[in-house]
Every structure is written in C-alpha cells, then in structure tokens.
Point group: D2
Chain length 408, copies 4
C-alpha cells in the first residue's frame, strides 16, 4: 500500500493509551524505526474511567521496514485496521519455523482464524504460536514439529497488554524506581495482603529462592511460610537444597556457623558431607523417610507436599539425586508447575528468577527481592506493571513477612 513515504498501513488501538504509556512508546517506536505516523482519529478518555481510542497510518520507506515496525506495534497492542485471518505456514523441520514467524510477548494474545478471534493458550514470551485442531497455543521453538501450522507475519493478531491500574492502590505502588532507599515495611504489607488474597481465592503461590535465603538466616521464616501453607511451589537449584541440608545436619552454611557467625575454616567439608549423606539415602524424600533429614526448608517442603523442582547448573557440587541436570527437562518441569500459579516471589536468585520470569504470562505478578539493586532491576525487565522489585536484606525480609502474615 504505497504512499509518498513508500509503504503504509492503518493501525488501531484502544484502552488507557496515555496513562499506561502505550501511546508514547508507540510514537517512539515509529520514530526510532525511521517510519512516520499520521493520526487519523483520536478520542481521549475524558476521565479516569474512560478509555481512549486511536487510529493512525504508519508509513515506511520499504515493505520490509513497514513489516518490522508493524510487528513491534502489534506487540504493543495495536492491530491492523483491515481484518484478515492470521497467516499460517507449516514448519518444514523439527525445532525450526519459517523466517517470518511471529514471536510472542507474554501478554494475552488472540489470533483470527476462519474469521473468529481465538485465545492463545499457555501464553509466554519468546515462543511461537501453533494452531492445532482449531486451538492456538504458545510453543517453544524446540518443541515445534515438522508440519506444525505456525503463525507468521502480523495480520490477524491482537495483543492485550495489561493496563497499569490507575488507582495505584495495588501492585504498582512503588515501581517507578528501584532503590535501596525505600521503606520495605510498606512493601511487606502489600505483599502479605496479596498473598492472603491469592490463598483466599484458592490460588497457588510459587517461590523462587537462592541459597542466600539460608546464608542470611531466612530459612526458619521461610519454613514458617511453608508450614502455614503459603508456599505451593518451590523453584530453585541444587545449591539451596545442599545449603539447607548442611544447615539441618551440621548447623552451618558453607562452613559458617549460622548461630554464632563464626566461619569454620574447614567447614567446606560439611558441604560435601551433606551431599554424601543425601546421596547415600537415595534422595531428599528418602532422607526424610529414613529420619536422616529432620528439619529445614526441603524437609518442610516434603512434609507439606510442596511441588519443588531443583534445576541443575554448571557450578553445582554433587548434585543431589533430586536435582534435574537435564535442563530441557528442568525447564519443562518449571513451566508445568507454574501453570496455574497466581503470584511468584523471587528471593535472591537472578538465574532462576530470570528463568521463571521468561515463562510467566504478563498477568501473573512477580515480586523480586534482592539486596543488589542491579538484580532487581534486571528481573523487573519484565515490565514495571508485572514485577514489583524490593531491594532489601532477604533474611530480614522473610522475618518481617512471616510476622506480618501471622499478625493479620
């Protein structure tokens, strides 16, 4: 559709376009791409409750450039004005898709098929959409099989970004800026309220936790949360479990006595002894059954039936028999137990936190807690309306959270 500028297309969007900052991101995107926009129609929401609507013509010098800018605008929530069915192409080999495949966001997405808009299942980012027997679903690239019908291009796709809630009473309360100079108590109260709400509605809560939870003395408070039913899923790696077992068996964590703070020079040996003990038992569950492991985070998880998944990493010692060292399997297990989770708390783990963040749809909120602002900033990359970042000491945070949940 050539114009003076070359090629163009009309797109539309509606919703809280201004205060969700979508409109300025759309304008930015167009300008950065050396494309141009021409607003055809704009209706502003008169008050806080009314949505806005826009229709505009996007122009670019080449068809390719237009396609690229449109792909971005669709991801931001615009849709082509002219309605077509989504373009489907068949994968020509396993684990590969056609070059113009549509790469998903984590926002709720619909595709138009035979004139009808259908919801995409298992929404997650960086996936492709396949259509099987009339149903659309996200699929990881590696799980695509030859012959699968893959959504390509941008026609017939609607993305529904979560609009940042204007009332600000809930999630977005301190998300403008990640800083260690904030009052954590306010965050703790909000999170405790969210956790109670989720449980009251029968929802599931997942924790992603690094070994720092143990080092910083957060273990006993985390165990309280498990016993009180606030932990449905625990996603972690080998290290958390090993440090937890070391503490349970020897009272140390990497050789530091957790009660006195004394570093024990040869305490690293406790670490290896802990692994040997669990290996001898055949695994964590068996160690609990045989009475070898009688306390700690993993013990409580097993007693309370928490769905835990330990994913391996290149730095693992051991590993414990429970640690899944095949990372494809570990990713699939993570994704499976996250399926119906309503809230995720990530505590002191960038690696597993990013892994989990990539798997979640945008409407599952994530709280990221770390003493390092850079880690929180990185996890908040998901988007500030999806992630609440708190920069604080994880041990003290868990203490306050457990107190707050108990006091209510």
């Amino acid at each position: 559709m050539a114009t003076t500028h070359g090629f163009s297309e009309v797109v539309e969007a509606e919703g809280h376009l201004i205060d969700s900052q979508i409109l300025n991101v759309v304008f930015d995107t167009v300008v950065k791409r050396n494309a141009s926009f021409d607003v055809l129609k704009f209706k502003i929401g008169r008050s806080n409750d009314e949505p806005s609507e826009i229709s505009m013509r996007i122009s670019a010098a080449t068809e390719q450039a237009l396609a690229e800018v449109l792909e971005e605008l669709v991801a931001l929530g615009c849709r082509l004005s002219e309605q077509h069915d989504a373009l489907l192409r068949n994968a020509d080999r396993d684990g590969c898709v056609p070059d113009d495949f549509y790469s998903t966001t984590n926002h709720r997405t619909l595709i138009r098929h035979k004139g009808k808009w259908i919801d995409v299942q298992h929404q997650r980012m960086d996936a492709v959409i396949v259509l099987i027997r009339g149903k659309a679903a996200c699929r990881k690239l590696r799980d695509v099989r030859i012959g699968d019908a893959v959504v390509c291009g941008v026609a017939g796709i609607r993305v529904m970004p979560e609009f940042r809630d204007r009332d600000r009473l809930g999630f977005a309360f301190m998300t403008n800026e990640i800083s260690s100079e904030r009052r954590v108590e306010v965050g703790v109260s909000k999170i405790a309220a969210m956790m109670r709400d989720v449980k009251a509605e029968g929802g599931r809560i997942a924790f992603v936790a690094g070994p720092v939870v143990v080092h910083t003395g957060g273990s006993q408070h985390f165990q309280d949360l498990i016993r009180e039913g606030y932990v449905d899923v625990l996603l972690s790696g080998n290290a958390l479990a090993v440090h937890d077992v070391e503490q349970a068996l020897f009272g140390t964590s990497l050789g530091v006595d957790l009660d006195t703070g004394k570093a024990i020079e040869g305490g690293h040996r406790h670490h290896m002894r802990a692994i040997n003990t669990i290996c001898r038992a055949g695994g964590l569950k068996q160690a609990v059954e045989h009475g070898v492991l009688k306390t700690g985070i993993m013990y409580e998880c097993i007693q309370q039936g928490v769905d835990y998944v330990l994913a391996g990493s290149i730095r693992d010692d051991g590993p414990l028999p429970d640690t899944i060292m095949d990372l494809r399997a570990a990713q699939d297990r993570y994704a499976a137990v996250l399926e119906d989770v309503k809230l995720v708390l990530s505590l002191s783990t960038m690696l597993h936190g990013i892994g989990v963040g990539n798997m979640l749809p945008s409407w599952v909120k994530m709280v990221a807690v770390d003493i390092n602002p850079a880690v929180v900033t990185k996890l908040a990359d998901r988007g500030s309306s999806q992630t609440l970042g708190i920069v604080t000491d994880v041990g003290l945070f868990l203490h306050r959270l457990a107190q707050k949940l108990r006091s209510a």
Copy 2:
C-alpha cells in the same frame, strides 16, 4: 650504620605477632620497600596465651630508604632497639611542620622524652604529635602554631596496635569478609550486647546517620533507641534533619509517603516547606519549644538531651539554622563530642562515617551498616579489628536492633 646492603637498624616487637598478622605485614613491608630483614632472635608464644618476641636487622640501600621503611615498621608496632628520646623540631610557621614529621596512626602511642615514655593524648590518625609542657598530644596540621615542638623521625616512638583478640567471642566475629550473604541477626545480637555493656559501664554511644534512616522507615525504631537512652551523640548532616522534619510535618520523605509508599510528584515542595518552617522558628530547638515540631528523630534528640552535631555539605538545601556550614568548626565539634565515646554505629552514610572514622582512636569500635557492600568495605578500611561491617537494610536493621534491646 652501613652494612653490605648499605644502611641498617635493629628493631624489636612483641605481642601476638603471628595471629594478629603483624609479623607477615612487617615482612611484606620490608620486601615491598626493596629492603631486607635478618631475624636475630625469635621466641614464639608456645600457646594461645603467650606472646611472641622478635628482634631483626632491617637493611636498605640508602639512608632515605631505611628511614621510610622504619617509619612504616614503627607504625606497625616495631620500635628501634637502641633507645633514644623522640626528636623534637619547632614548627616554623602556623599550620606547617618540618618535612620529617611523624604522622600518627590511630593506635595508642607513647613517646620517649627525657628518658621516660609518656602517653600521647587525643590519639587519632593523620595528625602530628606536639609536646607542650611535658605533655604529648595529637594535633591536626592546621592547628599547629609556630614554635610548637613537633615529633619528627622515628626514634623514641612506640605504637601499641590493638591485638585481635584470639577468643573471637567479641568483635571480630564476622569481620573476615564483608558480604551481603550473611545472617544479620547474629550481628544484631552482638551489637545489642555491646550496647548494653557500654551503657552498663556508664559509657557513651554515638550514632552517625544518613537520611536513608528516614527513607527506609528506620526513623521510629531509631526514636525508640533515643528514648531508651542508647543514643548519647548523633552526628549527621543537614539532610537527615530536613527529611526527619519533613516526615514529622507532612508524613513524607522527599515526597514519598512513608506509610503508603506512594511517590507524590510535587512532594519535593514538602522538603522546602519543612526548611522554611524551621527557619521561621529560628532553629530545631525553637521549633520544639514553640510546639511546631512534635515528633521525629530531631525532636527526640532535643527532648532527651542528645548531643547532636549537623555538618554542612555542598549539596545541602537550606540549610537549617542548626547546620554548621563552617566545616572546620563542624569537624572540631564532631571531635569534641566523640571525645569519651566508647562505641560508634554508622548507619547509611559514607561521608560522615569516614569523617568520624578518621577521628577515632583504634580502641573505639565502630559498627558500619549499609546496604551497599562497597560503603561498608570503605568504612572498614580502619582495620577489621576496629570496624564491624554489616551489609543489610538499615530500616529493618534498626527495627530488629530496637526489638532485641527491648527483649533482653
């Protein structure tokens, strides 16, 4: 005293030379300076309670090189084997000293005068020693007056480093390494015990505090400490007082509502209003007297008679009438109120913390708390037996500290 190597001198030392790491620092220093040592006599402490003794000849290529290495060894606790009186030279103008002046450490120091060893008063680092009417004292360079007798060279000087206590039960318990991956509760318990001990012995405790104490919600807990008599001295800057007053008058800190966490866009205006209000009253004390200021850290300080000193800085807004903008006067006031303090806690302030650290003798312990490990590392530069560094959230730390002090 020329040898094959050039010039040499015999030095001696005694004490817990090995486990205090003094001996290896001495050896290091000699080698780095391209000098050499020849151990003449060494008696090792057979057990934990016995001191060791060493005598060694230090040799260097030039007289100048020997003088430099000896100056360092004396600062580490060695003394010349041949005993002479300390060399005194008169200052030839105000604020200046002879080129070979002895620059002090913060360790207890004695000088030999007329055959007798006398104690140096007002010990602090980076000062000079002057002898006035038979008494020796540290003096800042700028306070030296023409004609003052200044200690020069290294003869007749004995430095007594604090030996790290082998029992490890007290201060040095977690000082090997500064890390955010530590259990803060252990530190809180130790600090609470130290605070109670100091108060039980009638000692004074100083706090150095940055405005982050307010931002992170530590204010109310810090007020508890003041009311309970744990704060004898408060050293800070203009910002802490302004943020404290802003919170007292408007409930915000730099425009962030401390109860809800909501950032108020124009909240910066509260900051300026707070300053204007105190200026109108004529100062903090007057604002308390007139009933304008009825709560907060500064209010409690005034009510409890805490000795507070606010030092100005280039970034200050206002300032409040109480802030001392002449930094020479501010440094002198800081030093004066620190005179008989037994314990210092520095909370989230690198600037004032370093300033205070420079003023303290080595036997006054300092606890440095900050969420940024780099700040704690910097403050711990005083030496690991002098400073206990804790990397944590200051708001939560104060909460736990107040709880712990109340519970005992």
Copy 3:
C-alpha cells in the same frame, strides 16, 4: 469554584504532551492526589512535528487539595486557564518566606506581572522567585531578605519543560535505563561530539570530579583534556586536589603506587606530606609559582586558567588552603562559575555531582559517569532528558574520551 466534586479549576497545556510523557504524568498526579480530571478539549499532534493541546477541568474535594494538585500540575507545564498576575507577598523576615511560596523547578519559568509574562532569571530548582524592580529571579531561601516580594500560589506562573527530542539522535540515546551492560564507546562518541559542539559555539564546559579520577589512572587523560581546552570549570573537593598533589610529588595515591599497583603500607604518610607541602607554600597557586608543584590536574588547571572551586567536607584531611570550608561560600562560588556553562560532566562523585545538579537549569545537560549504577541512577534523578548516565570505569572512560577528542 465548587463543582459536584468540591473545588475545580481549568488548566491548559500544549507541546509534545504524549511522547514527552507529560500527559501521563499529569493524569497520574491527579489520580494519586485523589483529585479527578475531565478533558474539555484535546487536539493530538497528527504527526511527529505537530504539538498536541489539552484543556481539562481538575476537581478536588477541598480548596487545599485543589491548590496542592494545581501546584504540581503547574510544575509539570500546565497553566491556569484564567489568566491572573502572579501573587506577590513580602517576606516578613530574613531567610523565610510566606507559607504558600512557589517552590521552583529547574525548567524555564515565566511569571505574569502587570499583565505581561516575564522570564525568571538564574533558574534553578528548590528556590523561590522574587520580583525586584520589575525583574524576576530565583533566589535561595537563605538569601531572601525581609520585604522581598516573593511569588506565592500558582496563578500567573508558566513552566516550560524541556521536551524530550523525538529524533533521539542526540542526548536521550540511551537514557531509558541505567545499566553496566552497555557499550560505552557509543556514549564516548556522543559526548565527544557534544563537547566539540559546545566549544565550537564558544560555550563553556564544567567538570565535577572525585578523587577516583586519580586512583583509576584517569589523571593523565584528564590533564590532556585540560591542556586541549575542554575544561573551563573544575568543581571538586579537597580530596581530588590532595590525591593529585600526592601523585605529583610522590607518584602514589593514598599510598598505592600508580605505576606498579603496589600498595605501600605506610603510604598514607605521603598523603599528609603532600598537604604539609602545599600548606607550607601557601596554597596550590603559590606551589606552582615556586616550582614545588610541576605536574598534575591542579597544576594544569592553574597553567590553563581553569576556574576551579574546591568545596570542603566533614571528611577532609588538611585541608589545603585552597579548599573553601565555609559551605555557604562554596555553594555560592559553585553557582557563580556554573552561570554560563553549557555542559557538565560529573565523574565519580555523588556528593559534588548532586550539589551541582541542584544548581543547574534543566537546559544544561549533565553527563554522569560512575562505575556504581546506584550513583548514576541518583544523579539521573534530575530527569532523563537532562542527564545522561554512563556506568563504566572512569579511568578507562577518560582515556577513550581523550583519544576520541584527539582523533576527530
């Protein structure tokens, strides 16, 4: 003007309201303040070059609440629809203003006086506006004198925010997010181009620098910049000058040999010797004249006639005679030499960088360079269109910047 909601007022704004994010900040502000808006008229810029225009009624429950939200909206660039002269009230004592004083932003501001809009001089944030003989100017609170006519309320005030330039080719190129994971070379090229532009137009460039410039080996490259005429103003503290002199006289910085990296145990003494040497000469300029100081940053500043100001701080050793220990005087000197500066580079100094940032009008760009992302984030608080933050090693940064400026 009571409505159903209570009190209301009509405000207007125009410009790049959407892509500069002003509109969504305005909406946010209204909602957070529990006020409401009703859009009366909105004209969107059809293309990238056209401005937008809005007119809306703001309502709040009380007159006080309305006044507060209006004050914020005016600071954001809205103006009251009904035009009145600015309200003037006389200061009733020195250093104080009426309670409803207007607290300035750093954006260009006009006030309406006798029906005419006049420009406010010496624009800076957190000041008040006084009208003297028909001229309006920003004044620090402490400089207000009894009887001064002070602008109060919000009528008759227009603030003109800098609109973020849509072309993105210039300053805003990487300001979305402060991260250490960025390619610094890109930033160096942009900054070099900006510096050349400023100099080509006869403009002045100021540097704010901490002692880390010396520790990290940036000194020689910074000296190159001075010699090549890129440094018109140097704002710093006592420490930079002392470390620079120490390096010039002894080749060390805080006792670390800068050529070999060897830490010299007693090297701290060099620090005190350096101070003593300059004190004896009577100051830096005299030390250069007498041939005592022959190299280094301060030497080059003096040779090239750079306008330097050293502000004192509580942690200063010495200080050098050149360091201004009266902070009121130091702030005034900083502000004076910044008067006609077009670009500021802040290198590794949070304290002085914040001080300077507070003094600048919004149209003077600041580049903040630090290896600590938290420092850069804090300095960027001025606003992302005013500050470019770069997280990198300052020594290597200066090396690359000097190379880039030479190569063009």
Copy 4:
C-alpha cells in the same frame, strides 16, 4: 593419645609459614575449634629466602573434635608427625563414600601408600581421592563406583599450598583488596605479560565469558584476541553465543543497536530469529560452513579451532543445538578442556566463573573481571594468591588488553 586436655596429636609444617599467613590461619583454626596448641619447635626463616619450620601438639577434648581440627590443619598444609599410610576404605555403593572420607582442596596433594608418597592426579577441590592400581586421583562424588578405594581420615596426606610469592612482582600485585577505585591499566599490563608468557611456553589459555562481553562492545576486541591466538578454550553458556549470533546477523544485542546505542523496542525478536536461523542450519559449525554466519566470536572460534563448550542453564532461550543441556556432560566437558590450561580469564560471568574456579587446581591462575565488585569478590573466594580480581568495564578492558597485546 590422651593428654590433660583429652586427645592430642603432633603436627608439623614448613615453608613460608608467616608471610603466606598459614601460621596465623592455623592458630586461628585451633582456637575457633576450642582446641589448643603447644609449640614444640619453631625455626623462623632468618631472611626472605629461608623457609620456617614448626612442630606443635594439638589437643582437643574429644577424639571427634581432634579429628575435625586435624582435618582442617592438614588441608592448610600441616601433616601428622607420625607417619602412616593413608587409610583406604571401599565405597559401598555408586556415588557414595564412607562418612570419614577426605574431601580435597585444590592444592597439590600427596598420599602415602605402602610407605611411599605418591602424587594425586586431576587435583581439584571438593572431590574425594581414589586409589586405583597404585595411582591416586581426585574423583567427583558422583563418579565414585562401588568398591573404589577411597582415602579416609587424615593420616598419610600431605597438602602443599601455593606459597604467596614474596617478590610480589607477579600475580599478587593488587590482590589485597577488591575495589573499583584502582587503576586498571596496571592490571592490563600484568595480564598481557602473563598471557604472552603462557603462549611463549606453549601453554593454553582459557576464557570464561558472559554475554556482557557482547553488550558492552567487547566483542570485536575479543575476536582480535581469538585471531591472534590468545584464546585456546572458550567456556560459556547459550546466551553468549545467541547474543553474538544476533549481533552478527542483525547488528543488535537484545535489541540494542550496538553502533548507535538505540534500543529497538521489538528487538527481542532478533534474538529469537537468531536462534531459529542457527537451528535451521543445524548448529554453529554448519552455519559457518553454509556461509550463514560470517562474523562474530563464535565464527572466529570455529575458524581458529578454539575448543568451545556452551553449558545450558534454566534461563536459556532456544537453546542452540551446540549448547549442552545435560549439565553432567557439560561439567565433564568443561573439566576435560581445562585439563592442561595454564591461565584462565573470567569475563563478566559469575555462574560459569564459579563453575570453572571449582574445577581448577590452585596453581592455575584465574583473572576475574567484572564491573560489579561483589562478583569479583565471590570469584576471588578461591584465594587471593590464585585469583586476580579486576573491577572494571569489560568492553573497555578488552579494548585495552587487545591494544596492549598488539603493542608489545
């Protein structure tokens, strides 16, 4: 061997006991363990070149406590005075060892077997020692098989710690303290010299690299190092390769244009396109062969025959066919290619850096470069004589390193 204290044993050690700080660590360890020492004989090295010798009786209250403290002392380089063969016990099942197994350090170790001291092969930390056909070797716990003869207890074991070289000219030059306030140029020169030395002696150099190498613009300089033969081994994860391919194919890295610094909103799609392209080719080598991949780090590795290993992680997108997702296999491959490496540089990757550090014997030096001091501190946990930490910008570091290597 009961004494008044309970149980005791005589241990001996020799070498640079004082300046390597071994002696004070030994004393510390004894005291922390509530044991005691009684020095029987001590001969101090009279000068810098002479070793010291010590013999002391260690006493503890229980046999168990004595065993634990002895285990630590042996790890530090002490040996039992009474010479026995090492105790061997058979593993009773796969992946498990007897409870009193000896857990290795990464220092050179010998065991006494049939009266002779034999060297342990494949030295690494946190392993066990097995004896097979008269040869001793480290083995990971998971690789132990039923019936293997495993070294237990502490008799017949000698550990030879690397003594920190007193001349300080080499590795230990700036290892006392990890700080961002250091001159990186000094470190670059030392590292360049070490790299040239290793290559001159025909040794191999390994790099461990995170994707930040690409984001920070270090890629082209790293490619220079590869082409010039300084990279024999590259250990990394999926992310580095994907970002490198993205840059090679699209000029972006996570959607940021590396030449202009512009962030491209939808640039994340490039990331997925890059993966799809390599999957379609069948892997990186095939992509190079087919002319699909024509530049970049992975391209150069393949052209130059660099031994590269990509280990999977839970956060991986894709992964590329080359990424080893079975972490047991990945660890084994890492260990295999590190076998004869003489120097390791770890660039901006905590995860892979820790993994590699755990695999190396103490005499293989590691250089850890990261802009985050906490990461460098963590990697330096291996010991300051084994790891040189540099806190700087990795992109600029690689630029300077490549320049330095070319200039010599």
